[in-house]
Amino acid sequence: MSKQPVRDRIRKWIPACAGMTLSAALSVLVACGSPDKTGSASGAGGSVTLLNVSYDPTRELYRDVNEAFTQEWQKSSGQQVTIKQSHGGSGSQARAVIDGLPADVVTLALAYDIDSIQRKGKRLGANWQTRFPDNSAPYTSTVVFLVRKGNPKQIHDWPDLLKPGVAIVTPNPKTSGGARWNYLAAWGAELKRQLHGDLTKLDDPQAAKDVAAAQAAAEKFVAEMYKRAPVLDSGARGATNTFVQREIGDVLLAWENEALLAIRELGPEKVDIVVPSVSILAEPPVAVVDTVVDRRGTRQIAEAYLRYLYSPAGQEVAAKHYFRPRNAELLEKYREQFAPLELFTVDQVFGGWTAAHDQHFADGGMFDQLYGITSQ
C-alpha cells in the first residue's frame, strides 16, 4: 500500500519534532531564567539589589523605609541600592523562601514563620532571633477593636465581645498570621482576667488549680468568640474589607497598625477604634537569610538595612505607619496615636510561638477542637 511509506516517513519526524520542542522549551526557560534572577549583587561601588520578603500589612511601611534607606546608603557608601519587595500572607511567604525565593531579608508577622525557615529550609542560623535587639522585632503592635461609628454596641473591652447579638469579624487563624495574634490576644486577655492580672501564676506550681480553671475559662471564651464569627476570611485585609465595605459584623479584631490604617484609608466616618485594657504584644520579627546573602555577597548591606529599622529615622517611619516604635522617646512623641494598655507577650502566656502553634493552631489543635465542638 502506498500509504504505509508516508506513515513511516512521518514516524521519522516524531523524534526530531520532540527534540525541537524540548530544546525550544529549554532555551526559552534559560533565556527567561538568566536575566530574571532578582538581582545578583555586582560587588561594591556599583549597584546592588536586595529582596525583602515581607507580610501583607507592611507594604506602606517598607515603601517609605526603602526610600529613606536607599538615600542614606547612597550617602554613606556611594552605592546605589534597589530594594525589591514581595508581600503576601506571612506563612506562604515563609514557604516561598523555604522553596527557594532568594530573599536577602525576611520581615514577617510571627517568629514561628522565621523559625520554620530555619528548621525546614536551613536558610539561617538557629540564633537568628538574638542577632538584632528586642527579639529581632524593631517595631511592635497589638490587637485592638474596630467598631461601627459611635460604638452602637458599646464594646469597650474583651468581655463585651460576648454581649448578646455581637457579631465578630476575624480572619482564619489557619491561614492568616494576623488571625493568630487575634486568637492569642483573646485567650491571653481572658486568662489574665481570670488570674486577676497576675500572669506569674502560670509558672507557679502552687497555683496550678487556679491556672487550670483560668485556662478552661479562656478556652470557653475563645470558643464563644468564634461562635459569633459569621465569616473567617483568609487574610487580615480581607477581614477588614468584609467589616468595613460589606458591613458584616459589629466588631473587627485587628492589629493596631492595620486598624489605624483602615480608618485613614477607608473612612473615619465609618468606624472607630477601641483599645482594650489589656492585649498582646505583637512582635513582627526581621532576619537576614544567611544562605542567600552569603551566596550573593549582600550580607553587609542586608544587615545595615535591618539595623536601619532600629535607627531613630527608621523608628520614626515605623511610627508614622502606626507601628509602635521600640524607641521610648518616639513612642512618647506619638503617644496620641498609641493609647497605653497592659501588654503581655507570647512567651509569657504561651511559652513561645512554637508551643503556641502546636497547642492551638496545628491540625487537631485547640482551634480545630473549638469547631469540632461547635459544629457537631
Partner: protein, 280 residues
C-alpha cells in the same frame, strides 16, 4: 503493526500528531503530576487514610463536589439557552453579550469573587433585595454555587455554540416542512448534535468548579465543617508546611475528578459509536 491498536484509515498524520500530543502531555501534565503522586506516597498508608477520611475533609468533599455538580448543572441548562439565544436570535447588543461570555476566564478569580460578594452581600445591589426574604447568598453555600457557576459559564456556552452553528439547518427546515413537530425536531435533530458539546461543557465546568479557590474564598465564609471547600483545606495544610498532606488531598480530588471525567468521556465515545453504527 498497529492494526489492533487502531482502526486503519487513509488519513495521514496519525503517528505525528499522536506522538506530539502524548509527548507534550507528558512534559506539561504528567511529569508534574507524578511529583504530586510521589509526594503523596511519602505518607504511610495509615496516615493517608487518616488525612483523607477526617470528618472535616469529608465535609469539604461533600461541599466541593456537591456545589460543583449543582453549578455545572445550572451551567448546562442556562449555557444551552444562552448559546441558543446567541446563535439563533437577533437582538440589540447580541454581539457585545457574546463577546462578554469569556469574561469569567479573563477576570482573575479573586476579582470575580470580590465583585460577586459586593453584589450579593446584604448591602449589595442584589443581596439587599434577597435579604428581606431571608435568602442569604454571600458567606453561605449558595454563594459558593453562584461563584462556581460564574467561573464555569464559558465552558458550556462556548462548546455548544460551534455545534449549534454546524447543525444543518437545511435538515432542520426540511424536517419541519415535512411536518415534524417543533419539539420532535429539537429532540431528534438538534439534541443529538449538541448533546456531546453539552456533555463536554458540563464535564469541564464541573472539573473546574471542584478545584476553584480564588473566587470562592471571598464569598464562602470559610467556616470549618460548614463553608470550607477542599482547596481551602489544602491551603491550610500548606500553611503548616504539611506538603504531603496537601498533596494527598490534591491527589484524592484528582482521582475523584478523573473517575468522573473518564466515565463521562467513555459514555460519550460509546454513544458516538452507537450513533455511527445506527447510522450505517
Amino acid at each position: 503493526m498497529n492494526g489492533t491498536f487502531r482502526t486503519p484509515s487513509i488519513l495521514p498524520g496519525f503517528g505525528l500528531t499522536l506522538g506530539f500530543s502524548t509527548f507534550f502531555l507528558s512534559a506539561i501534565v504528567l511529569i508534574p503530576l507524578a511529583a504530586l503522586v510521589t509526594k503523596t506516597a511519602t505518607m504511610g498508608w495509615d496516615d493517608l487514610v487518616r488525612v483523607l477520611t477526617e470528618p472535616r475533609a469529608v465535609a469539604s468533599y461533600k461541599l466541593s463536589f456537591g456545589a460543583a455538580l449543582l453549578a455545572a448543572t445550572l451551567n448546562s441548562v442556562f449555557g444551552f439557552i444562552i448559546a441558543w439565544t446567541l446563535t439563533r436570535y437577533e437582538f440589540p447588543g447580541r454581539k457585545l453579550i457574546d463577546a462578554l461570555i469569556d469574561m469569567p476566564f479573563a477576570l482573575p478569580t479573586a476579582v470575580s469573587g470580590i465583585a460577586l460578594t459586593a453584589v450579593f452581600a446584604e448591602n449589595g445591589w442584589i443581596g439587599q433585595y434577597l435579604a428581606p426574604y431571608g435568602i442569604k447568598v454571600a458567606y453561605t453555600w449558595i454563594g459558593i454555587v453562584v461563584a462556581l457557576t460564574l467561573i464555569g459559564l464559558p465552558f458550556v456556552v462556548r462548546s455548544v455554540q460551534p455545534a449549534l452553528m454546524e447543525v444543518q439547518r437545511d435538515l432542520e427546515d426540511a424536517a419541519e416542512t415535512l411536518g415534524a413537530a417543533r419539539f420532535t425536531v429539537f429532540r431528534r435533530i438538534i439534541l443529538p448534535t449538541v448533546a456531546p458539546a453539552i456533555a463536554t461543557g458540563f464535564t469541564m465546568a464541573f472539573a473546574r468548579a471542584v478545584g476553584e479557590y480564588g473566587s470562592v474564598i471571598f464569598i464562602a465564609g470559610n467556616l470549618p465543617m460548614k463553608t470550607e471547600i477542599t482547596p481551602l483545606l489544602i491551603v491550610i495544610k500548606l500553611e503548616q508546611f504539611d506538603y504531603a498532606g496537601a498533596a494527598a488531598l490534591g491527589f484524592a480530588m484528582l482521582v475523584l475528578s478523573f473517575v468522573m471525567l473518564l466515565s463521562i468521556n467513555l459514555l460519550q465515545t460509546w454513544g458516538r459509536r452507537r450513533q455511527v453504527v445506527a447510522g450505517r
